[in-house]
Symmetry: C2
Subunit: 644 residues, 2 copies
Amino acid sequence: MTTTTSRSTGGRPVVPSSSVLRPLGLDEVRITGGFWADRQETNRVATLAHIEHWLEKEGWLGNFDAAVEGRLPAARRGREFSDSEVYKLLEAMAWELGRRPDGELDARFDAIVRRVAAVQEPDGYLSTMFGRPGQGDRYSDLEWGHELYCYGHLIQAAVARARTGGDQLLVDVARRAADHVCAVFGPDGRQGICGHAEIEVALAELSRVTGERRYLDQAALFVERHGNGTLRDIEFGRSYFQDDQPVREATVFRGHAVRANYLAAGALDVAADTGDRDLLRAVATQWQNTVARRTYLTGGQGSHHQDEAFGEDFVLPPDRAYAETCAGIGSIMTSWRLLLATGEARYSDLVERTLFNVVATSPAHDGTSFYYTNTLHQRVPGAVAPADVASVRASSSLRAPWFEVSCCPPNVARTFASLAAYFATVDEDGLQVHQYADAQIRTALPDGTPVEVDVHTDFPDSGVVVLRVLRDTGRDWSLRVRVPAWSASARLSTGGETWSVEPGTAEVRRTFLAGDEVRLELDVSPRVVTADDRIDAVRGCVAVERGPEVLCAESLDQTVDDVAELVVDPSLPLREEQGLVIATGRRSAPTDRAWPYAESPRTDRDGQGGGSGPADELLDVVLTPYHDWANRGPSTMRIWLPTT
Amino acid sequence: MTTTTSRSTGGRPVVPSSSVLRPLGLDEVRITGGFWADRQETNRVATLAHIEHWLEKEGWLGNFDAAVEGRLPAARRGREFSDSEVYKLLEAMAWELGRRPDGELDARFDAIVRRVAAVQEPDGYLSTMFGRPGQGDRYSDLEWGHELYCYGHLIQAAVARARTGGDQLLVDVARRAADHVCAVFGPDGRQGICGHAEIEVALAELSRVTGERRYLDQAALFVERHGNGTLRDIEFGRSYFQDDQPVREATVFRGHAVRANYLAAGALDVAADTGDRDLLRAVATQWQNTVARRTYLTGGQGSHHQDEAFGEDFVLPPDRAYAETCAGIGSIMTSWRLLLATGEARYSDLVERTLFNVVATSPAHDGTSFYYTNTLHQRVPGAVAPADVASVRASSSLRAPWFEVSCCPPNVARTFASLAAYFATVDEDGLQVHQYADAQIRTALPDGTPVEVDVHTDFPDSGVVVLRVLRDTGRDWSLRVRVPAWSASARLSTGGETWSVEPGTAEVRRTFLAGDEVRLELDVSPRVVTADDRIDAVRGCVAVERGPEVLCAESLDQTVDDVAELVVDPSLPLREEQGLVIATGRRSAPTDRAWPYAESPRTDRDGQGGGSGPADELLDVVLTPYHDWANRGPSTMRIWLPTT
């Protein structure tokens, strides 16, 4: 296993001090067109301003002004963690500024930072929720208070700012907050942790930005304090905030799905920077079991509405999927770190699945409304969410512009703004491309060899990806591409040669010359998938995928009114027509019965039992990408379709 | 439709002033042996004292003393509705005293009543939670404060006392509380309702006990105020407390399943006493749709953990079933009232199903631990609940002795103590027997004709029920028996004649002589049942029932370690051996895969896909009554079994 020492190249959310692969930053990878470029543009022109508008409208930004003006707690609005949404917007803006300088956006960023900075107390404490007369004491409610969680997002915003340039006020604020945290919660301080992991990952990255080892040490302390009964017990159980088992001893993610992933990401950062292979292995095992047993087809994680938590193994109901957008983002954070630490393609497979089917599903096409939860089955047409009122999290509505708990919109924004940083890496051997989009890659190998590659593709519509080398290099190097597990077959060709490649990583090694092309052909033909028998909730059903996209049947595209009437015949081939995937099925017309359970061999006694089977006549079942659903008004939808 | 005017006969929880059937009370029906007599005896000797012990231990009884001694709110313990658990214990004790006089129990009852009564304020207000300095103002939180809910249980306890005799202090307390409620919330008073329905059903019954019409009018007011946005909105939505739609306009039960049923029961009481056929029809429609689309095979209701609520139609996951014990009891309350109002056997069918499979499932065999929720599928062996600490509601433990929210144990206790009152009715035409147990029925028809019948049966083990008339009567009358919908065939015989009867109601009419016997033979042979296709969560599965009992496979009885390994072949016959029902199946040995979804036609690529089918060798799948499960230590269990 080779290890690359990190360089200070900017524009990267995650910069482990040692890793198998070195991540490339926003100044090294630029997405120039296609699926993700469209979403980045919408994020830039619509989402950032939308979020800022709602933060003002709901008074969550105003809380900072109220603090300065002595109007707290009376004037405070929003939940205990509302400060963090402001910080996530700052982080999104910072990455966006790293992607593309913009004086007006920079001024808005600075204006918000000044409002935040004004609230910081001399000792570094910063919260609009605690510590004033009439408020709870500082750190009086570590289980639910979210103070350290808020610092975490503050610090992540500062890290983004530090790595993308511009005024450093936010970095100074974050350092003071981090110093304060180390003073209060250090080795000799209070043996506490936050009920919502996040500070860990943030302190580790701040340590990388600043070179301050004690921030990393503090992150490690917080990681290790989990699982020792550090927090009070709560109704959801101690697993809710991963205080049930030490991180090193757990075998699967459990409890609140966002908390679980954020903690895992933090543990991986600590493992990377301390060379702790045991900790890395523990989290890798948890990831593996979670992916094998607790993850939806979409990559979504978390099947409990009650506690936004992972269910037990194989409890993955499509119609009560929680699959919180933020849990998807947390999963990407975790998978990305595991990729950097190991170089294994399976981690990027999950990143791709989660990006296309969770993160891309959350925002509406116009970027101003969002799903907080991402159900896999909508039984009743959703209502149009109120335009001017924050919605509840898991409402049965279409996407909503804002939520009372609104972690997801700014989380999507920061992810889209920094997305290119998750696409490619280098090591001493060469360049690795993990995600596919029209892109420009301009970097150098650790020995200084400049590498310039353009990527041309219509992915995911097409499976053809052409990587064009723009510059001669004096040495041979390896261009590695990920062959996704979903591609039934794949071919790689260059210099007139073509060969089959297996899922995992495929490689072309040569002394590349300007103009050399490597062409990857993935099989994006639609495919029928079935689930492990132990996922009881989808027994007897199939789903259809195409390339990285999970497809769904939305009622608006069907010849029946409700997707509940669709039954698919998986023995008949899928067709592609005019950009749509079409399965063949039949119409099921279930009979309403007084009691929905019927005796099996002796049916239809007294109006009970029976229910007619599917009709004989074949019908088309039109399938479209799941991430596109619910953009045309109320509808019913299902990913898993019963078979005949 | 005939209508019987109610008489003041005691020992009945529900005495509509007019109804098609007149309920018989505890002084008219006595359960003398068998399944339910055993549970009544356990309730008497173990459960009542167990509940009293925990009410003392947790300080919920002590709250009343603390109120008198001026130690509130500092000394208050328990949740905002803890007073109600004390009242439910009183109600259970009162019914038990009506069932069987017991000086020691009567003294305990009186002692508790005195502690409660001492807290009542001069204007009738009574709460340990609100109204004192440092507490919330009276009725300042109708959404969650539960003050009126607590009065409801206080009044129901008083009604039980009034109808079973003994000291009347509690009745006086309840009247003062009811007068206070009328004064505060009357037509010209505050237009509020309680966030948890219960006061409605209680005031209606108090009106029947006291003859005070205004209690009924107040109940009607509360019923009608639902659905007008009377309460503030909450995250779970206004449907949570049935404030989303007027009772007359709703078409199905929705929101919190206990609240929904309690409100329905109250509305039916109002409908009965005001002759409001529209209101009766509205609730009957809601019941019908709820039973057809939102009820588990067990009779359990409520599929959401988050808000203890009904899910959308056909969302009935076995492994995330909530099926709260109290919701089952509420369902029985509603069904019983619908039976009295209409005489239709389907209501008693649901009462029977819910009694055997929800209410009987909640307590352990020894009557000192309980299920709050009643899952239909236990995937991971439950832990032994702590013996000395109140458990959370939906823990993954075996039954627990007590809960932080402990509504279910005393609710089971009051139901068991009054159970005989749900077994038989009379009308001008004769006697109706709705539930089967060894029992003595001693009553009179409305014209005074004495009717004395003994019931002999080994139900539910046997389907043979013999009804023996003990007394000549000078007139002919009709003995009607319910033929449950589950009985594939049934025969009735008397006087040497035998005839087949259909599910519903079967009748023998004659001038009975002492010693006449009517013999009902129900088919309790085990039967395989399937679910409506729209209940996606159990597609491809079957369940097995026997008589009124839903059966389950518990791991302790199987030759495999975990019920997840069982697959049933429904084409092979069920067998009965030594009291066990045995299905034939195969062992499924699912393959662990890195990703639990596999491409359908091209499986087993790279270790993904595939998974072996069930083994060839046949094995026995041992099925036992669901209500018996989890009495022998940790196990896995499932009611719905996948088929080959």
